[in-house]
Structures are given as structure tokens and as C-alpha cells.
Amino acid sequence: MTDERWLDEEAGPVVPAYLLTRGRTVPVSEAIDLIAVITTVGGFAPPPGLGPEHLIILQKCIRPTRLVDVAAELALPIGVVRVLVGDLHAQELVRVELPAPMEDPGILLDVISALRSL
């Protein structure tokens, strides 16, 4: 018989991704670009009602970080991280800044190819 056992990583995440956003896939604020840089607005304690993942993002983004990097570090789908960051942005806990447009399209192409490889 199929007496399979799944340990740790094989068992899948304890908390499914859909629960982190309570099923939401569209951020409350405007759409955030993949390469937007997220920076935590410091100076005050985070308000109650935030999930552990929100807090981790706030921690990570004390140093300005791009959205894709946040998602990679949290090992979460980009759609989920986008919603979470959207929550923080709506409460003005983070700043979302698009990087200045690049003159050199080569860099942009690099970025695109890097994204595709994700």
C-alpha cells in the first residue's frame, strides 16, 4: 500500500499562502511594480493587527529592498507579497518608490532575463 510519509518541507508550508492574504489577490493600494523599492517608514512601533509576515517585511525593508527580493526571501508567491506590501503601504508603514528610469536599456534587459529565470 501507499504508506507515504512527508516530513518538513515535503509536508508543505504549515500556513498556506492563501491564508496570509485571507484570499485576497489584488492589493488595496495601486499595483506595485516588481522592481519597486520598499522602504520601512521608521520611527514608531507597528500598530496591532499585523500578521507575522507583515512584521517580517517591515524588518527586511528597514534597508530599502525591491519587491522581488522580498518575495524571494520570504519564499512566498510574488502575488501574495504584493498584497501584503499593499496592506503596509495603505497604512503608510512603507514607502514604495519606483527606481529612476534607466538610460541604458542593457540593464533593463538584464533585469528582464533575470526575472524570467525566477
Binding site: M1, T2, D3, E4, R5, W6, L7, D8, A11, G12, P13, V14, V15, P16, A17, Y18, L19, R22, G23, T25, V26, P48, P52, I56, Q59, P77, I78, G79, V80
Partner: protein
Amino acid sequence: MSRSRTIRAKIIGLLLVPIISMLVLWGVLATLTVEESLGLRAYETLWTNLRQPTYHLVRELQHERLAAVRLLRSRGRTDADVDRQAFLLQRAATDDARDRLRTRSALSMDASPAIGAQVRATLTQLDRLEEVRGEIEAAALDRYHAMDSYNTIVDSLFALHRSVAMINDIPIYEQSRLVITLGYAKELLTREQAIGAGPTTEAERTAFTQLVGNRRFMIDQALAELDPELREIQLGIVTSPLYQRVRTMEQQIMDGRVPAGWADTSKELVRTFGEAEMHAGATLTARAEPVADSVVLRAILIGGTGLLLVIVSIIISLRQAARLSKELAELRRAALEVAEQRLPQVVAKLREGASVEVPDIEIRSSTAEIADVGTAFAMVQSTAVEAAVGQAQLREGVRRVFRDLSRRSQALLHRQRIQLETMQHRATDPDALDDLFRLDHLTTRMRRHAEGLIILSGSTPGRGWSRPVPLHDVVRGAAAEVEDYTRVVVEPMPGLNLDGAIVADTIHLIAELIENAARFSPPAATVRVRGEQAARGFAVVVEDHGLGMSEQELAEYNARLADPPEFDALKDGDKLGLFVVGRLARRNDIRVTLRGSSYGGTTAIVLIPTAKVITPAPLKAVIHD
């Protein structure tokens, strides 16, 4: 309903009738035998009180009659005074004997009604004595009639004799009748004596001839029937020269002569007969004594043996009764043991999956029916055990099929979830992600149901964690498995971890409780889940705002949670979740309690033991880094 009586009481009841009958029979037998022996004893008493005094009185009356005859004969002659003197002396002697009879007879008057009547009749006759004597003194009677008056009185005394000589022993009775007959023969001789004193009239001679004939006939008849010992004495008298002389003189008197020496010769013979009579009487009385003794002995033997038999039969009956009731009690004990202990134990053991071995019932009994019932019980037991084992095997088989099918579903669903997760990572479009989320949620729920079946079939779902997992994640993971997970609010909780080994079970347990809370509360209401550290572990509290449950329902559910009964798919199909919770709680030492909330709704408290809660190493440094 009236209390039923014990077998013992019934058996004793059955035995009571024959035992009482036996006792009554024994009583009758003993009474009869004792009465017989007492009757023989009475023969001796009657001899002393009635017969001996009667003998004496008869003898004295015979003497008085002779004296009276002499007195009447010598009237007017010179020697009349001597005869009067003799008569008066004899009268006094007779009165003594009469008084003695009166006193003695009073003692035995009540021996029997017949004897009493006879004694009274005799005493009445004796009262006539004074009258007769008065007439003799006044010379109002001739010799013949005076004799006749005495004869009547003597006859009544003999009647008393005969009536008293009653005895239960036939040989003695016959002999004593013969002795009385001989006594009467002696009486006739004394009558002859009186007449023979002469001179005789014609009428007296006729009477004399009659007397002689009767007397001889009586003696001959008695001699023929007497037993050897008594006959010897009588023969001695009859063959003596004295007797021959009397016979010759009798002939002379019948011929009208007056033989010389008649008075002395006849007196001598009367004395001899009298002695023989007294001797015979005493002999018979003495003979009655051993007979009486033997009868007493017989009475004791019969009575004793009877009593012994009665006692023995009572003892045997009671012992049989005791044995029977003991055997039945044994049977009852064995039957009760099978019904109350063995079979429930077998069923309980089979439920735990243990193998059973039931010792055979052994009922030793000497009673065929009881032994049969015992064998029947043994068969009932083995059949019941076989049936229980068969059912247990069937259940085990069904359970295995259940588990295998559930396992397969679980494996497929799990793979599907992994696949969905990968797809979520790749999705860029929010709509596509939304679809994937819905699919993921459905798959998670399906997996939970499959795992529920695996848990019910007594097995463990194969998911596990080797490292401690944050309790907050455990609770959120549980919330994610619920249909209406968006209604569930998981409040922040202390940063404690749960032992990885029980994470899967705990997630499932809390998920079932949240599912329950969501189902029994209004569609829009939230279900709140809190976590807090308690004295004896970590408490996860699931609160809903539904209608709540009654105290009785709460008590019932709590009892089931504390001690989950065997799952019965037919009866408890709608309470599946509750069974799963009970199973999981017991397996992991978790306590689950339901409680009514003061503002409506129900609160479920899950207490995870301290040993399974792990305080994490400070993480801050890691995060800052």
C-alpha cells in the same frame, strides 16, 4: 413483583410433605407399640388390684357359705352356738376381704370403661350380702336358697375375674381363662362341700349330681388345654388318693348317704385346689412380665429404628438439597460471569485489537440436567466469542479498506497541493492566483477529510515535522483548513513553538473545532481564536457567537471528548468531527473542554501539555542580521 424464592427453599418445601408424613407414621407406630407394652404392664396391676382381692373374697365367701349352711342345719340343736360363733367369725373375715377388694378395686376402676362397669356391678351384688345374712340369722331362708344367694354373689365375682383377665398375649390369655375355669370348678366343689354336709333332700341331691357333673367336665376340659407346666400340677391333684376318696364320697352322697369324713376330706381337696389356683395365677402373671418386657423392647426397637430412619432420611434429603442448590449456585455464578465479565472483556479486548483467549466454562455437577445446562453455557460462550471475533475481524477489514482508500486520496491530494503551490509562485495575474487559491483551499479541505478518515480508522496521517513549529502558525494552519476561513480571526499569540511531532494532529484537532464553531454560528459572525499560556500548558481558545448549547449538551459532549467511545458509523455519523477531536486529544494528551460563553455561543478550550510547548531561542538577532 414478588421476590422469587430460592431453589433451596423450594426443595425444602418439596421435602416437607414426605418428611411430615414419615414423622406421623412413625408417631402412630411408636404409640401403638408403647400402648401394647403398657397394656401388658396393666395386666400385672389388675392382678394386684382386682384379681387377687377377688380370689380372697371368693375364698372367704365359700367359707361363709359353708358356715351358713352349718348354722342353718344345727338350728335348734345344742351345738348351734358353736356354729353361730364360727359363722360370726367367718363373717368378720369375709368383711375384711370385701373391704380390701373395695379399696383395691377403687385404684383400677378407671383402667377401662368395661372394667369399671363390671366392678360396680360386682360391688352392688356384694351389697346384697348383708341382706342375705340377715335372712339367715332370722332363719327366713332354707339351706338351699341361702346357698343360692351366696352362689349369685360368687358368680358375679367370677364375672369380674373373667373381664379383668384380658391381655394382648393370646397364650397367656387362654391359660388364664383356663385357670379361671379351674377356679370355678373349685367353687363348684365347695358348693358340693356345703350340700354334702347332709342330710340331703331330694332337690339337693339333684343339684349335687349336677354340680359333680359340671365340675368334672370343667376339670377335664381345662386339663386338655392347659400347658404342660400347669397341667402337671392339676394332674397331680386329680390323680391323688385324696381326689379318689372325694370321688367315692361324692358317689355315696348322690346315693343319699352321708359319708363319714366328707367335711375334712373335701376341705383338704378345696385347699389343694386353692393353692394350685393361686400358684397358676402367680405363674401367669410372672409370665406376662417378660412378654411385657419384650414388647417394650420391641417398642423401643421399632420406635428407635423408625426415628433413626426418619432422621437419616431428613439428613440425606437436606444434604441432597444443599448439594443441588450449591450446584445451581455454581451454574448461576458461571452464567453471570460469562454475561457480566467474560463477554464484555472479550468485546473490550477485541476493540483494542488484542487477541482473545477465553477459558472454557467448567461446571462439575452430578445432576445430568445441570451438567447439560453447563455445557450449553460453554457453547453459548464459545459461539458468542466466535461471533465477536468474527465481527472484530470484519470491522478490522473494513477499517483497513477505509484507511487504504483514504491514504491514497490523501497522497494524491497532497501532491496536488504541492503542484498548486508551484503554480502560485509562477502566477503573475491576480485572477489566476485567485483561482489557484480557491483550488488550493478546496484541496486542503479534501485532504483534511481524507485525514479525518485515516484518524478514525486508528492510523496516523503521514504528514509530520521534525522541528518545532510556531504555535501561531499551527493555529493559522488549522484556520486555513476550514471552509469559511475568512471568518476566522486568529489573534496574535505569544511566540511559543509546538513540538513538531504533534503538529499535524494539533492542526487537525483545532481545525475541527473551528469548523464546528463556524458551522454553528451566524454566517457573518467571526470565530475568534486566541492562544495564551496557562498554568498547565498552552491554551488555544476557539470562541464563536452562535446559539450555544444547553448545559446537558455541553456535559454530554465533554464526557465524549474526555473518554471517546467506540465510533459507531450507524449511530454517530453526524458527529464525525467530534470523534476525530476525541481521538486526537487522547492520542496527544491534549485536553479539550467545551464551555458556554456568557454572551452566547460556545468556547472550546484546547489545553496542550507544557511538555509539548517549546520556548524558541531568541530570534531577534537573526532577523536583524
